[in-house]
Symmetry: C2
Subunit: 201 residues, 2 copies
């Protein structure tokens, strides 16, 4: 019972914070979304900021694990390098209804930076972006050792891969086709990091 309420509260609060932002999200709405008394929030998390912190950490953990699972699945064994990278890019850029509130919450964090406890921001970065980046870097390092790539800094290459695929898709105009964008980004990545490319330019 306690676990159910906790989950419903964290999930509901994620939706509300993601949609309305921290200051617009009222305690009453947060409580109602989870079917919980507003008093229960204070009993559990002390205040609004405490709930926000708990939501960030919970959601970051869950989404990071999900992303790492996608990376493990698509980059763990390479059949066709280009096709696998395109599939990775598509999965990475995909707007999943399950994880979309998380990314909206991330945008709220990036916007409200100065009004969030630095310790909360640091914990989010560590559990989320940094952890995922390291996982991607590990895959690229291994793939390089296997001869698929030629790269000096796997961590930086991980950033490049994400920026060229999901990052570019996010920056796309409304009319642009995501698959075209991602195929193009993967092409750039391959031309830059394919064996033999580094020695040229």
């Amino acid at each position: 019972m306690r676990t159910d309420k906790q989950r419903a509260l964290l999930d509901g609060a994620l939706r509300v914070f993601a949609r309305d932002g921290y200051s617009r999200a009222s305690i009453d709405v947060l409580a109602a979304e989870a079917g919980v008394s507003s008093r229960t929030i204070y009993n559990h998390y002390g205040d609004k900021a405490g709930l926000f912190r708990a939501v960030i950490l919970d959601s970051s953990d869950r989404v990071a694990e999900r992303q790492i699972a996608v990376a493990d699945k698509l980059l763990g064994r390479i059949a066709n390098l280009e096709a696998d990278l395109v599939e990775f890019g598509l999965q990475w850029a995909k707007r999943d209804p399950e994880t979309e509130p998380h990314w909206a919450l991330v945008r709220q964090i990036q916007a409200d930076f100065d009004h969030i406890a630095p310790e909360t921001v640091a914990a989010w970065k560590e559990r989320g972006p940094t952890r995922v980046r390291q996982a991607l870097a590990g895959h690229l390092r291994r793939l390089a050792a296997e001869g698929h790539f030629e790269l000096e800094d796997p961590s930086l290459a991980a950033v490049h891969l994400v920026q060229l695929t999901a990052g570019s898709a996010a920056a796309a105009e409304p009319g642009e086709d995501w698959e075209t964008v991602i195929r193009s980004g993967v092409g750039v990545f391959l031309r830059a990091y394919a064996p033999g490319a580094t020695s040229r330019s």
Copy 2:
């Protein structure tokens, strides 16, 4: 006199909206920041949303012009391709105290998407990101015609260049050196788009 007040109001409101976000920014603070009566805001812009809209459009115009000027200066005539691109990336990623509030405001827009009039969002995109992207694409198209690059889609290449430089710098860890990140990103761009690269991979 009227112009002075208008400018002070737009500049001050930009700072406050950028720092606190739309809902946290109170009319009284907005008025005080510009040294203006709160009543004057209503006389000029009707309501808070009207002021927000005016601030977005004004700031977008100013920053877009500034960015396009940077692009014209650094990409207009190429002396050393790699060095010029690195300088472009550094300028693009640079956090200028003059334009920093604008980018904070952009983050607010991206986070508050659902609570801003769609017409306002559309006007911002058109005057800001889209306009700048087209300017960059124009430069890349010309540089390709001059033989510096080999690219099919200049607009997409513009996104790649920005994502590999400023985008990657923004995603960097606190300890990372921006110049290293940007040099690396420019290297990727050059290896992918240098003449003869497209036919390989």
